[in-house]
Symmetry: C2
Subunit: 358 residues, 2 copies
């Protein structure tokens, strides 16, 4: 019996600094490089581990900016394929670059994209979802993994599923009816009780040729540029062609370039992800993913999460659900319900020219 | 016309670490050594300046523990009289030691005691109150300065005044009827509206012989010990007699040893202090005395006081009336209304054996 994950490659776009996790996350030390749950492994290391449990390291590819290449090589010594983008162009050029290069050496390969900075805690269910997604992708559909909601979150986008598909090895696959933006609370509650909506975790699984064909129709300029780069990839001109071509590529997310339009055409499928998943997007989420307060914390008539990066003491008096974060150069104090607003601190620091703190 | 402040000496007992101002104040760096209002002068320096504006430095005396003697000499190079206590015995032995030594060299001198760590902001009114208090003290009464309340504080003790006295140069002097402990809110409101109550700021002005006579009646053992020390003071045996005698002195505050019992006997007077005064007792008080947030602070939908001792950034998001203090080794976050509970943090640190943070 053939390996169901034969020719399956994982692509990890590693970008975004995570401004809502300042002062832990910085431009030079983005969220994916941090160990946010106290496990001893950074988020990108956990992402790599999760995938390497399923496929060999040679079929795991990371795409990142020049700024973080060295840190990633250091954190992932087993990684053999690192694509370094000359500049940030959002997720479609990043994933498209990997897809075009993989397609040239492994035609008909299947790729799956997985954010470098998300948290998943059930490897068995994750593997089950990947197996189904690869089976569906092999049939020619672009496939996403829809996370079964644990509550009516307003912090995530949702995937609305439609008719059941009939794919061998993917008994739970359904067509995607549409992708919907982060809803309000009432809408989220309706989604969850209705049962047709799952969370969009940005996991897309597709045959490389299928993806490149869609791109050729929907973003022909981007497809052509990626083709030019992929053609030069095995040659000594790789870097010069990459540098010359990359700036012309359209800056666009894979959601807008592929997922949303292809879903409307009936070309997207969804399989359920029955595992616990979180995008670790802000400090309110950190408690949910297992972060615990530093042992040097003292609570007097108070509660919340206190993280002391340098091991110094933190004392909280008379405040509930407060998050306190201390680094060597900054302190953040935020009410749990205002965790999303932490990005405004980063904006204000930028306005004041405090690049040393960004 | 003779100088009304001739033979007036100021005694500054400098003790108490100020546990409610942790982590700024520490056992090794007590509140009186700190510049809490951003003036550039510590509280004991401000206390010295205020008194030195009225009398020469030679008539200003500080009484402190061995642990803080060097820091005080450094902060007050003009100070010529520093009494170093072998151990802490509360305010009566401290003030009594200075009184006994001063009385031996300047009989009939008048001393006034002023805490090293309080804040006063109107020098003219302060001088006016001192002038009246000295005039009353000269007549043989132990005299206190009662601060005219600016509101119904429950954080201070109160002085209940009685009949008007007839003393030249002290038109506002009254007898003290009694001293009362920190009241509840309703009682405080009644005190303030009634007009007979003022705040007890621990300022006592008295002739040395009057004080020592009261002590001889009320605390004869303590009086005898102080006499032994004072007799040896000019001799080479000063230190050995001090070390031998001091441990036998009763540990007691001047309020309990003198002020309260003498008031009941009709021997205490009060003159009004019409200046702004604060004991800078906790972080809630710091805003009132002029402390301002560090310029490196960013407020996003928040308000309060943020002090960064090491100049690092502090960001507060979604919290009002919060106080954040960062030192090199700790962070405190406290709701303004819970400022008194900061002492519980210090107690917990002691319980955990974190002497490095006390």
């Amino acid at each position: 019996m053939p390996d169901p994950l034969a020719s399956f490659h994982a692509v990890i776009p590693a970008g975004g600094s995570g401004t809502r996790l300042w002062p832990l996350s910085r431009a030079a030390r983005p969220k994916f490089l941090l160990d946010l749950d106290g496990s001893g492994r950074s988020l990108i290391q956990q992402t790599f581990d999760r995938l390497n449990d399923l496929i060999p390291a040679e079929r795991i590819h990371v795409v990142t900016g020049a700024r973080h290449a060295d840190a990633i090589r250091e954190q992932l010594p087993e990684l053999s394929s690192l694509f370094v983008e000359p500049s940030a162009r959002d997720s479609m050029p990043a994933i498209g670059l990997a897809a075009a290069v993989i397609d040239a050496t492994d035609p008909g390969a299947i790729i799956g994209s997985f954010a470098a900075d998300h948290v998943i805690d059930d490897q068995v269910s994750f593997a089950e979802a990947i197996g189904q997604a690869v089976a569906v992708a092999r049939s020619g559909l672009v496939t996403t993994i829809g996370i079964t909601p644990t509550g009516p979150s307003t912090g995530f986008g949702y995937i609305e599923s439609g008719d059941r598909l009939d794919v061998d090895g993917a008994g739970s696959a359904r067509a995607v009816r549409s992708f919907v933006e982060k809803p309000d609370a009432a809408t989220a509650a309706r989604y969850v009780s209705g049962g047709a909506h799952s969370w969009n975790a940005g996991m897309f699984v597709t045959r490389t040729d299928v993806l490149l064909n869609h791109l050729g129709r929907l973003q022909p300029g981007l497809r052509a540029g990626l083709g030019t780069i992929a053609a030069a990839w095995p040659s000594p001109e790789r870097q010069s062609v990459l540098d010359a071509t990359w700036p012309s590529l359209t800056t666009i997310a894979i959601d807008h370039a592929i997922a949303e339009p292809v879903a409307l055409e009936g070309g997207m499928a969804v399989v359920p992800g029955e595992f616990r998943w979180d995008d670790a997007g802000d400090f309110a989420a950190l408690g949910d993913i297992g972060a615990v307060s530093s042992p040097e914390t003292i609570w007097v008539d108070g509660s919340g999460l206190a993280l002391s990066e340098d091991g110094t003491a933190i004392a909280v008096v008379g405040l509930d659900d407060v998050i306190v974060v201390r680094t060597s150069d900054a302190v953040l104090v935020v009410d749990r319900d205002s965790a999303q607003q932490v990005k405004d601190v980063v904006a204000e620091l930028a306005r004041r020219g405090r690049d040393d703190l960004l």
